[in-house]
Amino acid sequence: MTNKKLTAVLFVAAALMCLYGAYSGETETVYQKAANICMECIGIG
């Protein structure tokens, strides 16, 4: 398999993973964490 074809196949797989994750509600978990001050990140929690 050539490099370009491998990259294209992997890219499609990654895009499908991303879509499945979004469909199964992971974006909500990301949003909940990112939209509130992350105490661990800033060194307080």
Partner: protein, 288 residues
Amino acid sequence: MADIKKQKRIRKTVQAVWGIVTNSYLKGFAEGGIYDGALKKFCVPGMNCYSCPGALGACPIGALQAVLGGRHGKFAFYVIGWLAMAGLIAGRFVCGWFCLFGLFQELLYKIPLPKTNVPDRLDKALRYLKYIMLFLLVIILPFALHGEPYFCKFICPVGTLEGGIPLVMLNKGLRSAIGLLFKLKFFLLVLCIISSVFIYRPFCRYICPLGAFYALFQRVSFIRMSFDGEKCIHCGACARACQMKVDPVKTPNSCECIRCGECVSACPKSALGLGICKGSDKIIAEQE
């Protein structure tokens, strides 16, 4: 020489503009809070703390730990898929062009003080540390223990710089909650700042789990380096220009290359290139 300077100027401009655009929520700086709009569902490609008052997007490393640790044994399809897409498009080109913390370290390195050359063996050994950070602190521990974002909590100097310091300065309530953890993280940030004055991008070289993730895609990404052996006169100008200590002749798509393009500008014979699907179309194992 003029080419190198022009190329450096272009890259610095891209880094700065990207940093400003992705951290442009001015209300956060004015009020000591953070943005909580819908854009926070999406990750930015580079390291950028989502608790920075100006941040418009989510930090991919923070998001990865949040999903792995907060969904009780479920895999992080969304964040890993997104990171893999970014890695497959650009590899560590993201580190060189779209990371604000990378720019911060580069500016510190410009301070005119004598620079340190980390001995080769130590340098090589330390470079594996970022993979330990990625697999242990970002993936395995949050996933196995269903809990804390260990990298963010105990290590990440980006969070301290972009989130911790401005929020503590702007928010009285948070200021009163400072404890030992904040002091530890502040110490790590100071260590990172001091070492950045003497070593080129030490956090990116040795610690950054996001750079480690993108490094996995260096040899298969759409944007990559190419090398034409017939044009090369083996003058060594490219290796001398590389601040990440990569020899582009031996390993044009090394896991350590941040694709800044300085070697391309330094080559007098145009033997090196950086572009989309450049170079060999066969998968060749490059020797480190």
